[in-house]
């Protein structure tokens, strides 16, 4: 088989279909996990970063990226964890934040590195958009979520933490 000609845009486009297993409507692109796509001497290198250091899904995600790029016909696809970039919640795209909300999660505000207890504790309700909410716990069902309650629609909800 002849190796496919390197086409960066095509690869990026295909990664929009690789989902985060913990939030299956969000792609690794929308999560801001991809830091680069490069041509190597023999194939392709995709550079990515995990959201949390202890993210248990990292191996699954790396595998899915590799399989997806291979499915385009590329050979020698290498998925490389990029130590030079640090993930933070500002890296989630605008579309990503909308998808998080559709998934039923509160979204982190953009913080540019500056946020305190107030920003951590307060989240808009993803169900009814009320600001009249309280935080129950800064931990939730996955490392990236905190748990909250909305006084207006009386629903418990989770929120993607600002990091």
């Amino acid at each position: 088989m002849t190796a496919t000609v390197f086409n960066k845009e095509e690869i990026y486009k295909s990664l929009e279909e690789v989902m985060d297993p913990e939030i299956p409507t969000l792609s690794v692109i929308n999560m801001g996990m991809i830091t680069g796509v490069e041509e190597t001497v023999t194939g392709v290198r995709v550079k990515m970063i995990p959201t949390f250091m202890a993210c248990p899904a990292i191996h699954v995600i790396k595998n899915s990226i590799q399989k997806k790029v291979e499915s385009l016909g590329y050979e020698n696809v290498e998925v490389f964890v990029d130590d030079s970039v640090i993930w933070n919640s500002d890296r989630i795209t605008e579309q990503g934040n909308k998808l998080l909300k559709d998934f039923g999660l509160g979204t982190p505000k953009r913080h540019e590195g500056k946020f305190g207890m107030e920003e951590i504790a307060h989240s808009k309700c993803p169900h009814c958009n009320s600001e009249n909410t309280t935080m129950n716990s800064i931990f939730g069902s996955t490392l990236c979520r905190s748990t909250h309650f909305c006084y207006d629609c009386k629903q418990a909800f989770e929120r993607f933490k600002p990091v």
């Binding site: 949390f52 202890a54 130590d83 640090i86 800064i138 069902s141 490392l143």
Partner: protein, 249 residues
């Protein structure tokens, strides 16, 4: 390079051991949220330990993380004794978490400027995650310190019991001078001072008192441990030891 290896190993072993202790609350936390909180923190800590063991493996050709974490003897473990103490009752675990996580957070803050780049880069990431651990600890310390007579007495009792072990986090190291001169890390003394400045007002706000006499418990950083570590290590490697070497999962 021994000085950098020793520093990273102390940090990784602390995180591995306290992470396993925290995981013992999974399923038995006093309320669901706290069960989840300690389980999440356990996951974070073991993730941080893995990241540190990975640096040791990549930069210094030390054994690959899984074997290294699970197949060392008690004498080779460099965690402080504070980390290995049994979880006790909930107040004990909370106070230990408060004292340890503030030190851990400040250590990573200091290391964000380290001349050893892999560690500096990792520290910038980890300190963002530890922010949540520290907030969790502060919330419960101030809440329970100020709640009922019983909760106050329990928190003060645990603080008294743990204090000398907490000071053992900062056990002087033979490598401190070199770490300081190479601008890798400002050293345990500076860390301890920053830690005292940080925790004192929070302890005061919790209406608790720092014990007036102190006698730091040292030894952990040189491989001397309490009778509690070996049984924990046995439990941690129970599964992996039951399989032949090279078993794929």
């Amino acid at each position: 390079m021994e000085h950098i290896k020793n520093l990273i190993l102390r940090m990784a072993d602390d995180e591995l051991i306290i992470g396993h202790r925290s995981s013992e609350w999974t399923g038995i936390g006093p309320i669901l949220e706290e069960d989840i909180a300690f389980s999440s923190m356990a996951q974070d800590k073991i993730g941080h330990a893995l990241a540190n063991y990975t640096i040791l493996n990549k930069e210094f050709k030390m054994p690959e993380p899984d074997r290294f974490a699970f197949f060392r003897s008690e004498k080779e473990m460099l965690n402080c004794q504070l980390a290995e103490l049994p979880i006790g009752e909930y107040d004990f675990s909370l106070v230990r978490h408060f004292l340890f996580d503030h030190a851990d957070f400040i250590r990573y803050e200091m290391l964000s400027d380290s001349s050893f780049t892999p560690l500096a880069q990792l520290s910038k990431k980890i300190k963002g995650e530890l922010k949540y651990h520290v907030l969790h600890a502060d919330t419960w310390l101030t809440r329970l310190g100020n709640a009922t007579d019983e909760s106050h007495a329990r928190m003060q009792g645990s603080l008294n019991e743990i204090w000398n072990y907490a000071l053992g986090i900062f056990e002087p190291s033979d490598y401190d001078a070199q770490l300081i001169s190479d601008k890798v890390f400002e050293g345990e003394n500076v860390l301890r001072q920053k830690w005292m400045e940080k925790i004192s007002p929070i302890i005061e706000k919790a209406n608790l008192k720092i014990p007036t006499t102190s006698q730091p418990v040292y030894g952990g950083r040189k491989g001397y441990h309490t009778e509690h570590l070996q049984p924990l290590l046995n439990e941690m490697n129970e599964v992996i030891s039951s399989e032949a070497e090279g078993t794929e999962w």
